[in-house]
Symmetry: C2
Subunit: 192 residues, 2 copies
Amino acid sequence: MFDNLVRHIQKFVALNAEEQIILKSYVKIESVKKKQFLLEEGQVCHANWFIVKGCLRSYTLKENGNKQMVQFAIENWWLTDYFSFENKKPSQLFIQTVEDCELISIDDRTAEELFVRLPQLERYFRLILQKSFAASLMRLQYMFNLSPEERFHHFNDNFPAFIQRVPQYMLASYLGFTPEFLSKIRAKIADS
Amino acid sequence: MFDNLVRHIQKFVALNAEEQIILKSYVKIESVKKKQFLLEEGQVCHANWFIVKGCLRSYTLKENGNKQMVQFAIENWWLTDYFSFENKKPSQLFIQTVEDCELISIDDRTAEELFVRLPQLERYFRLILQKSFAASLMRLQYMFNLSPEERFHHFNDNFPAFIQRVPQYMLASYLGFTPEFLSKIRAKIADS
DNA sequence: CGCGGGTTTGATGATGCTCAAGCCCGGTGG
DNA sequence: CCACCGGGCTTGAGCATCATCAAACCCGCG
């Protein structure tokens, strides 16, 4: 469990045995069943979750009551609402388990102290955030430059692992169209 | 010039006089005329630019030859292609001055050394990136949850400073629709 | 076996794009 | 100082795309 996180961190910065013990004293390890909520709209988000095993999603509620997918996250990803996290403001997001999960979380109310004791984590999260930001801009590019159908194919080709794990209605929302339309794309593919 | 950067950094982390001198030895200060390119498609991006004065934009070329706006940046923002920057891969982006600019840049080939000497900059950029990432996800939300017209109004209300500074065709592209459509939105507003 | 969430299918319609033409206005050269 | 040029903005007609709505279907689970 905890070793997965240590290994992930060590891909970016050094972390010796003693430091690992310090880190461990600041994190919370938990198992969460499928479809449970880690965060609900209106709550202030105080945690940043690292996924050892499983799958999370975040979404917002649209005016018409539909759920708009914001992010997926699987093994070795971090997920939180940085906006709420940073400003201590109520979140617009729901964060929910899509599968049974093994999670490790850091609480922002102790994170500052942790960063002081293990300053290399500043660097670690800087690099993680750099990747996340770049990925988010990429996704915006796909929204702008590709048609819905092209977005689906692109996702299919580049993230085949997800297709098996998440229901289609979540994927459709993530890609920015309706489940009905996704169904029609699939029918078209089956024809040829 | 350089003081603007120092003041911005000091909003997030401490930086004493001696450290300011170190920082200064690692940055490049330059004035660039309107419509000049800092980066062109196919080049590897080695710099991260801080805007002291002026306005930058980044865009990609779409298949049909149109320019798709990726980001705007004005005073006290950083702009780069993190994707190219990080992987040392050729960029898909053009980065161009929209106005005459005063810029400060850091070169990624010396940045590592700078971060070792001034480790608080790890934290500074972590916080900057956290904001950038949150903003990027917000923008995705607007793309998903608002109609083109609503996006325009939202942008109008929240970033009035930009409306004066950037031509409409750039704004339309940034918001994800055509200049023609933006013109029709404006006509509609004028009616009422 | 029956229920219900998720997916499929089809008809209809709105939204925003494309294309083409005209206009407005600031800058340049005669 | 005026004429012209061209980039950017406007306007309108026609059209493609994808959403909406409704109904049927499929299948896993209790």
